[in-house]
Amino acid sequence: MLNRPVFRITLGIAALVLAAVLVNACRTTGSAGLADGDAAQRVYVPPGQHDEFYAFMSGGFSGNLTVHGLPSGRLLKTVPVFSQFPENGWGYSEETKNMLMTSHGFVPWDDAHHPELSMTDGVPDGRWIFINGNNTPRVARIDLTTFETDEILEIPNSAGNHGSPFITPNSEYLVASTRFSVPVPQQDVSIDSYKQNFKGTLSFIRADRPGEMDVAFQILVPGYNYDLAHAGKGPSDGWMFFTSYNSEEANTLLEINASQNDKDFIAAVNWRRAEECVAGGAARTMPARYAHNHFDEAHIARHELKTEVTVLEPSDCPNLVYFLPTPKSPHGVDVDPTGEYIVAGGKLATVIPVHSFRKMIDAIENERFETVVDGIPVLQYEAIIAGEVENPGLGPLHTEFDGNGYAYTTAFISSEIVKWSLETFEVVDRIPVYYSVGHLMIPGGDSRRPWGKYLVALNKITKDRYLPTGPELAHAAQLIDISGDKMRLLLDFPTMGEPHYAQAIAADVIKDRQVKMYQLSENKNPYAVKGEGETRVERNGNEVHVYMSTIRSHFAPDNIEGIKVGDTVYFHVTNLEQDWDVPHGFAVLGANNAELLIMPGQTRTLVWKPERVGVFPFYCTDFCSALHQEMQGYVRVSPAGSDVPLAYGTGGTLTTASR
């Protein structure tokens, strides 16, 4: 039998352990973020039925764009943009590889951050979606009738194209701002001459003419880091707002050196004024080298290098740029649906500053300037601030709107989303997210007319949310119901690459405009065949062109002889099918590139350089029919200098090539 003190101590320890277990259990339940009630029904899309929204998630470091359905979270498609995609031959086929050309040559990868839907009257119209490439500064346009990238423009005088591609309300311009300031023009200078030699650029890209994207003008600004942007709308239409940090102009250990100033700036740019200045001759033309790539009418990527760009200095165009002081290294800048409030998120801030557009105009008219930096007036903080949202969580980053008078802001450090009123600037609700949310997305949440209803949190850290898959985990998106007073977690779903930001649009806007196939009769590819009768093989020196067709379930020709080691063989494959969802694939043994997926009515070309003597098979990779496994052929490769005649055929004796 235990004596009394020992018993008491034991009891005490037992009680403590029990308490700890209970507390921990509660916390575990809390941190699991369990969706409750009818959450399953809210996200359930029955078999054969469609989602309510298309969500376009940037692929981040995958360089792609992924398309998900909401509310189910189902992955519908990966659209290759800046990265080669062996799955369908994007960036490998002769018709598409020019799309990845830059002034640095072929760049088969990029870091894609911000999808941006085209707009009409400040509302997403579903014509196109744009996305930026951070690393080798580029912007791409994706056609939403085909879900295919069909234009890419490189940005000159830029580095780290992060603040991009934010669009004006009628898709007049996309912007591209430099996260990394660099010498403009580039030159060999010491890095610590940053303050003298480094500049930022704010580029305005003409966006509403397919095939004609171009840098309309660039505004040369002080050498800060320009981070994100959003266009004004309604009363503030005609303005573009860019956040900046590193107004300290540090060039090393930015973690500390760029966190010194209490406030950095939002650059408010009057782009209509810029248009006037450019039209009035205030801008200058500067030599530059940047690529413009787009599909021509034959659906072949054309690559051209442009040689000059229009540059505008704020000092040559008064009233063009104003700085709005904004606390603590601001990151996101978001304009509410009415166009009056400009909301900033400071990475290290404890409040959300909300600037008033009306007050900003008053301050400009009354010259309420704190100082002037490089010819750019800095407005007085007190003169432009509409309010500060208190207690918004730690590290507020990005804000979107539901169209019902509320704003939703992500807090990275405290890993939560807060809902606050645009009337009282008070927080009315908050919900934890798992873990460390960056952007958030509400369908149409950056537009004049948000669809609201759902919010997607795009989280940076996944940890234990799914079955573990080794050291690398899919990023976690979380779907939150915002239709009621309280936010409710509905669903977690994994995403591809880094879904840095996303946009969504009501499915009805685009689903009936989908191209189901290309008209074979309108195929303008010079190597197309319109029927099996046109298939053939031609030799031109050591180049061999195979004009090949596919139809269920054979290739024509499917036997080819007379290829020699040292030849370069072009397989120009036309898919003769005129039926929805019947692509054919083409793969040949030893190809050093990829396969092809050819859509109905389309022609795609794969280059093959045989290095060995032998007979090599090719086959269809996309399961097309009951006799898909029979869809195959052979190429005979003879030694260099062999006199085996070039011949080809399908299902009979071979035809000898005419030349």
Partner: protein, 197 residues
């Protein structure tokens, strides 16, 4: 002919103009892989897919069973049929203008013949396509199986449910025939009454 009969005959003849803009017949092929529908319309002078690319798709499917492709330009009847309807329209309008009863009778009889011959011909084409299969190139060979589409109605053929029904133009033509027939019946009744009187 009474004014009423003349109006009916003129109306029936004019209604036949519809066959130049609306399809006569509609054949659908339902299979699980074609949720968006697969089928073809027979028009007065051609055959076309009900959706873009459908005719090519049907020919693509038919190649599995060794059926020869449907090539509208190779069907001579489709070159004659527009003239046949043109004649019926002209003859009917003339009959209405002249008010000759024999012309009304001839119109109805001719039209009935056109319908019978057309359907018989349609059946013959269907039989020919469905039975004369190329044994050498047929990929799917089911002993005893033929692939003649139904003349009117629905029939299951392997994984495909084939249906064949008149389309808008066909129904209107049939309606025009009925109007002509009604006019003829009314005329004959009237003459019977006159004889009795």
């Amino acid at each position: 002919m009474t004014a009423r009969s003349r109006i009916l005959l003129a109306l029936a003849s004019l209604a036949l103009l519809a066959v130049y803009v609306l399809p006569l017949w509609h054949i659908t092929l339902d299979a699980p892989q074609y949720p968006e529908g697969l089928g073809m319309y027979i028009e007065v002078n051609t055959i076309r897919g009900q959706n873009p690319g459908n005719l090519e798709s049907i020919n693509g499917l038919n190649h599995y069973i060794g059926m020869r492709p449907i090539v509208p330009d190779s069907i001579p009847e489709l070159k004659i049929l527009p003239w046949v309807f043109g004649f019926l329209i002209g003859f009917g309008l003339l009959g209405a203008a002249l008010g000759k009863r024999w012309m009304l009778t001839a119109w109805v009889v001719l039209f009935a013949l056109v319908m019978i011959v057309s359907l018989a011909d349609f059946y013959r084409w269907g039989y020919d396509y469905g039975h004369n299969l190329d044994e050498a190139t047929a990929i799917i060979k089911v002993p005893g199986m033929t692939y003649q589409p139904p003349l009117i109605g629905t029939k299951q053929m392997l994984n495909i449910t084939a249906s064949s029904w008149p389309a808008a133009g066909g129904w209107i033509a049939f309606g025009a025939f009925l109007i002509g027939l009604v006019a003829l019946v009314l005329e004959r009744r009237r003459s019977t009454r006159l004889e009795v009187a």
